[in-house]
Amino acid sequence: MTATPGFLDVRDVRKAYGAIKAVDGVSFSVGPGEIVGVIGPNGSGKTTLFNSILGQIRPTSGSVELCGEDITGMSPLELARRGVGRTFQTLQVFGGLSVRDNLIAAAQEFKGTLPGRLFAKPDAGLGHHADEMIELFRLKHVAHLPAGRLSYGQQKLIDIAMAFMPAPRLVLLDEPCAGVNPSLVDQLRELLVQLNRTQGGSFVVIEHNMDFIMKLCPHVICMVEGKVLAEGKPAAVQANPAVLEAYLGN
């Protein structure tokens, strides 16, 4: 599948910290409903690229466009309102709220107006949807426990489920497998495929787990030293000698 320009377009993004070029002219496009994987050794600029797309940092130059609209440097709130969701590398759940409340909190702000939500039903009409998501992620047995008390892997699943609660158009997943029990990795991949099919959003995934990314993503980008080294079908990228050298070399 080739990327259809016009959904997410990353154009020549650069981010320099003093003399260090963390991201050095990266361009790529993601089509509607497409899953794109970003791989690369540590320090290759993946996270900086992610943060540039997500408005956590402002790129030194270049632009990010969503459906033709320039979203470069927009705040996370503005991005969320445009249907951009994300998951985090480190645990980021609402520790004091129950799992079910975490999921409802993830979507309630997209329903109605702010004053209207004061008078809405306590579950903001999202209880059923949250229960479905809990079922999907097999979290039913812990649904009413505070998220902060659960295991690392469970919190990671909650974080991912939260990102999908509002059915975003674009989801950026930052190392979804990190810290997840290897036996659950396949299950997680199937979940993502299913969500991609039912919700129709586009995904950009950063991941170190090669097997996971090769099976999940029809299109893979390999970054090295802030630049795109190779791009294309997973098998082709994997077989690229330059990629092999970047991983094994030095």
Binding site: N51, Q56, I57, F88
Partner: protein, 291 residues
């Protein structure tokens, strides 16, 4: 005109005292992430310690030195070990609350255990006024300025010129990088607590003769230290100096030309103006948000 210059000089002197307290406050925040709400009590206690020393017949300078040593041990290391170490890394709020508790306990100990009265403290400087061309400046103001100036210059020299000082600055700017560079972060943080305590003793020495030693004298000085630090820029040591002097001078001017009743409100007004128009502080650098 004579009034104005007099107000300017004495305001700068008062401001220099605020700056000293703010300096310690800023260093603590930078190096250890500690917002110390008992900073004012850290000034009040040494004032009483010096009074005790004097009542036992010590000369002021010796009482001051003894207070410095005691403060470095009790308010520096003691405070760090007993409270700060246990709460650092749990976010800002627990430490703020705990230091509020310290503030209340310390104030109440002095009030219940010693006295609720204000006690005069001898000044390290001679009384009297220096007149130059119709402008009157008290020796106390001159002495305060000289001493505060010397301390600040000395501290800056220590921070910039010595290996230890540079290591402390590195810790203040980026604890993680400092650790990677092989700096003994724990020791540097301990030094910062010690320096903060000694700065508080100097503040006490300079402020107590005018404001008198009283159990609640720390309320006002503590607040001025916060505001001076923020006005100048929380992440800049020089900012604390500018903030302190600015508050001192403006308080004097407002007190004289506008209304003495609102002198205490100057720091707040300045603070609100700063966060509205220059949120990072006058000399501060904007921090990029982190994930």
């Amino acid at each position: 005109m004579g009034d104005f210059i007099h107000l300017l000089v004495s305001g700068t002197a008062t401001g220099a005292i605020y700056a000293l307290a703010a300096l310690g406050f800023t260093l603590l925040w930078q190096a250890a992430g500690v917002i110390n709400f008992s900073q004012g009590e850290f000034v009040m206690l040494p004032a009483f310690a010096m009074l005790f020393g004097i009542s036992f017949g010590l000369p002021l300078w010796l009482a001051f030195l003894v207070a410095c040593v005691l403060a470095a041990i009790v308010l520096g290391l003691g405070f760090k070990r007993a409270i700060a170490d246990r709460l650092m890394g749990h976010g800002v709020i627990p430490l703020v609350i705990a230091t509020l508790g310290v503030s209340i306990a310390v104030k109440s100990i002095v009030r219940a255990g010693y006295s609720a009265e204000a006690h005069p403290v001898p000044s390290p400087f001679p009384g009297g006024v220096l007149s130059i061309g119709g402008i009157n400046v008290s020796y106390a103001d001159i002495g305060t300025l000289v001493m505060a100036g010397a301390i600040v210059i000395g501290l800056q020299a220590f921070l910039n010129r010595t290996v230890t000082g540079r290591a402390m600055q590195a810790v203040a700017q980026n604890t993680e990088s400092a650790r990677v560079l092989g700096i003994d972060v724990r020791r540097m943080v301990a030094y910062v607590f010690g320096i903060n305590a000694v700065l508080a003793v100097v503040t006490a020495l300079l402020i107590a003769p005018t404001y008198l030693a009283k159990f609640d004298m720390g309320d006002s000085i503590g607040q001025k230290a916060f505001f001076a630090a923020i006005i100048g820029g929380f992440n800049q040591t020089r900012g604390a100096l500018l903030g302190g002097v600015l508050i001192g001078v403006l308080e004097n001017l407002v007190g004289f030309y506008v209304s003495p009743a609102y002198k205490e409100g100057v720091a707040l007004a300045l603070f609100l103006a700063v966060i509205l128009f220059r949120p990072e502080g006058l000399l501060g650098k904007a921090e990029e948000r982190k994930v």
